[in-house]
Amino acid sequence: MAEPLKAAVLLFPGSNRENDVARALAAAGARVEIVWHESDHLPPGTDLAVLPGGFSYGDYLRCGAIAARARVMEAVTTHAARGGLVLGICNGFQILCEAGLLPGVLMRNAGLKFICRMQTLRVETTETPFTRAYAKGQVVKYALAHGEGAYMASPEEMKTLKQTGRIAFRYCDAQGNADAAANPNGSLNNVAGVYNSDFNVLGLMPHPENLIDPLTGGTDGRPVFAGLVANMTH
């Protein structure tokens, strides 16, 4: 039996969902360590680096812009280049885009309002370590909590993302229709999450880590963490 998945949850000044995601990973059987942003390395044996949600550096300059230049991000970039897994949720997604590990950028919500509620999403691909425990096209419910989640990319970039199957999740209604009416924040093509070209880096705005317990709204987020852990023990 292989060692369980080892996750490093990065902590930036202003992160606030690090304990949520650490708890979700631990509940799925992962070993979890919280890593301060000034560290110049990830703990030895790290399989997965997680950039949690929050408001790193108070969203100064642009969301995620300052954190993307933190010392630990060099280690994350090296980890990703070696094929290591990286997951960025909400502010973590914004940081990954700012760091150039994912394409595109997250802009102010089209309606200008901070959105804090449950949201249905469609799982666009299951051929990755992050979504292998879902069925393709499955509609899941995650929590939204962001003011700057409108995903933008150049037309060429968006074309590439579509053609290469790198759109991870799309905002949809309860029936799975990813149309304009189901778009909460003005994201291009209802994009809620994207992969890098090697599918080892995932960024998404909604929070799967907050849907792991029936007591707090449901368990639709669990398969992300269970799938990651199972991926390692196979």
């Binding site: 300059l61 700012e98 595109g104 950028v105 102010r108 919500n109 089209a110 933008m152 990319a153």
Partner: protein, 79 residues
């Protein structure tokens, strides 16, 4: 040496904040505003760098941090 960097959204990018400001100006009864776009200004003081080296330095600062060139343009104005 003093430098000002002005960062603006590319014309193709929607600016909901600018739109909201435009709406507020109109609701004040001020007439004649066709559109408003919001940007950022950085006033920078340089020390020990001048001329071409200063230009190159500010250019780097803009590309690496001050602007996200996917959606923003920047202009450098030496004061």
């Amino acid at each position: 040496m003093k430098t000002r960097v002005v960062v603006t959204l590319k014309p193709s990018v929607l600016d909901p904040q600018g739109k909201a400001i435009e709406g507020a100006l109109k609701s004040l009864g001020l007439e004649g505003f066709a559109s408003v776009r919001q940007g950022k200004v950085f006033d920078i003081e340089l020390e020990g760098v001048e001329g071409d080296a200063a230009n190159a330095l500010i250019q780097q600062a803009c590309e690496k941090l001050l602007a996200n060139t996917i959606v923003e343009n920047f202009a450098i104005q030496h004061g």
